[in-house]
Amino acid sequence: MKVLVSVKRVIDYNVRIQVKPDGSGVVTDGVKMSMNPFDEIAMEEAVRLKEKGKVTEIIAVTLGGAKNEETLRTALAFGADRAVHVKEEGEIQPLTAARALAAVVKKEGAQLLLTGKQAIDDDANQTGQMTAALLDVAQATFASKIEIEGSKATVTREVDAGLETLEVDLPAVITTDLRLNEPRYLKLPDIMKAKKKPIETVSLADLGVSPAAGLKTVTTTPPPKRSKGVMVKTVDELVAALKAKGLVS
């Protein structure tokens, strides 16, 4: 069984985001970029499924400009066998990404698409679900546990009320949540080996995909600042401060 894993290149989660003063976006120049953390979790899960013999081939796919090759090399170091780079400069929004992922899933005959539940840059939380709908296959979002038996997957999902369990037939799209696994640290030999693995480059047009009309960003602003708080020294002072604000009686 082939599994496809989508990996997005985003600003590293540790970076303090700076909004450009002219409102045109956030500063990306000279900023550390990494694989979206949820996609690392998806990669890790794919590798574990392969180690368990449930998966025969892992294909990583990214959409974006030339620099996304770094993200694919990371995926290959995790253990992807090969990679597909849908090369398009400029912003790619979820519906377009979903159309492209659906096309790659079909082209590869992948039985499983693993995506992150959300990209930590746009925080959209859309692409996996959109892809599942476009492919008319089962979806299980926000997965914290995946068990594959034959052509079925049993997925535990983190929902607001607790943990929900679905059984889905493959092919399916599963989106990963934080507690699915803890991604491994990449070792130097794996990083070296990844350099030799094949990356196929295609365009949206090659995939027969036309970009969807997207949201237009009018302006980007920093969030409102919270006013400076006070430090208290004792519990009594804390109680007094809460009382002064009318928060406790």
């Binding site: 909004v19 709908a133 089962a138 607001d160 009320a161 607790g162 679905l166 980007t220 969030p223």
Partner: protein, 310 residues
């Protein structure tokens, strides 16, 4: 003129509190507001939805396929009912996030996630980068599918009396998906997402046993209980308690962050809290940069003392 269809979330015959907040966002868009209830038997939920002020009609779609909130059973029926509406709004809960993109994809339109302010029928504010930037976006021409960031809206009033209309969109259970079970945390405590007071504990608690300190304090002041990702990952408390960018976004009047460092991903969930109180032994912890009241010290001493003095 706008015509907005709000998709109701519900469980056990009760309308989710997020629905009236979603209606509040719809009111900002303006025009006519209808609520659609998909259920096996939606009578009770439809009656509750009909009482939300500003809603003129409730569409009640009863079908066995809607017994559980399955996105792949709901998307086509939503699309069918959405004909004639300018907007389809869903609450920004795991239910709404699971379903909305499928509806948008089937309609072939972009989705606006986590609407936090409405500037016009197609112009919205939404957070990106864990709320460290806010973008104003303009949706392209066509129907608009959006989820609503619940912490940004005050629930619409009650006292409405919408008409309830039975509708029957084509429905069937998808052959590829079986709903097995929901393991819900039953708790008598206020619901995290609507509580006016919330007490959250972090990695500092050190064990599930020690986390009782947080529950006890919360119970003393009638608060809901939350947690950082580290506390959930370490198994001190269940997953549905995680507050943050990838957990629940909350807006209580009073928030206690206890033994939580204040990572940006955690702060993303509490930006709308009215008053943030932080207790942490590290005076340099980033949580103090956003706290309205900060107290440096050992939580294992300070929290019981605070509890006894409130």
């Amino acid at each position: 003129m706008s015509k907005v269809l709000v998709i109701a979330e519900h469980a056990d015959g009760k309308l989710n509190a997020g629905v009236s907040k979603t209606v509040a966002a719809a009111q900002k868009i303006g025009g006519e507001i209808h609520v659609a209830v998909f259920a096996a038997d939606g009578a009770a939920v439809a009656a509750q939805a009909a009482q939300i002020a500003g809603v003129s009609q409730v569409l009640k779609a009863d079908h066995a396929a809607f017994a559980n909130p399955l996105a792949s059973a709901l998307d086509k029926p939503v699309v069918e009912l959405a004909a004639g509406y300018t907007h389809v709004l869903l609450p920004g809960t795991t239910f709404g996030k699971d379903l909305a993109p499928r509806v948008a994809a089937r309609l072939g339109v972009a989705q606006v996630s986590d609407v936090m302010a409405v500037h016009g029928p197609s112009k919205f504010d939404r957070p990106i980068y864990a709320g460290n930037a806010i973008t104003t976006v303009e949706a392209p021409a066509g129907q608009i599918v959006a989820t609503v960031r619940l912490a940004s809206f005050t629930a619409a009033a009650t006292g409405g009396s919408a008409t309830i209309t039975a509708v029957s969109p084509a429905a069937s259970l998808p052959a590829h998906t079986r709903y097995l079970k929901l393991e819900a945390q039953k708790s008598a405590r206020p619901d995290l997402q609507s509580a006016t007071r919330v007490v959250s504990g972090g990695r500092a608690l050190g064990s599930a046993d020690a986390f009782k300190l947080i529950y006890d304090f919360a119970d003393k002041i009638g608060a809901g209980v939350g947690a950082s990702r580290a506390a959930v990952d370490s198994g001190y408390c269940p997953n549905d308690m995680q507050v943050g960018q990838t957990g629940k976004i909350i807006a209580p009047e009073l928030y206690f962050a206890i033994g939580i460092s204040g990572a940006i991903q955690h702060l993303a969930g509490i930006k709308d809290a009215r008053t943030i109180v932080a207790i942490n032994k590290d005076a340099e912890a980033p949580i103090f940069e956003v706290a309205d009241i900060g107290l440096v010290g050992d939580l294992f001493q300070l929290v019981p003392e605070l509890q006894s003095k409130l």
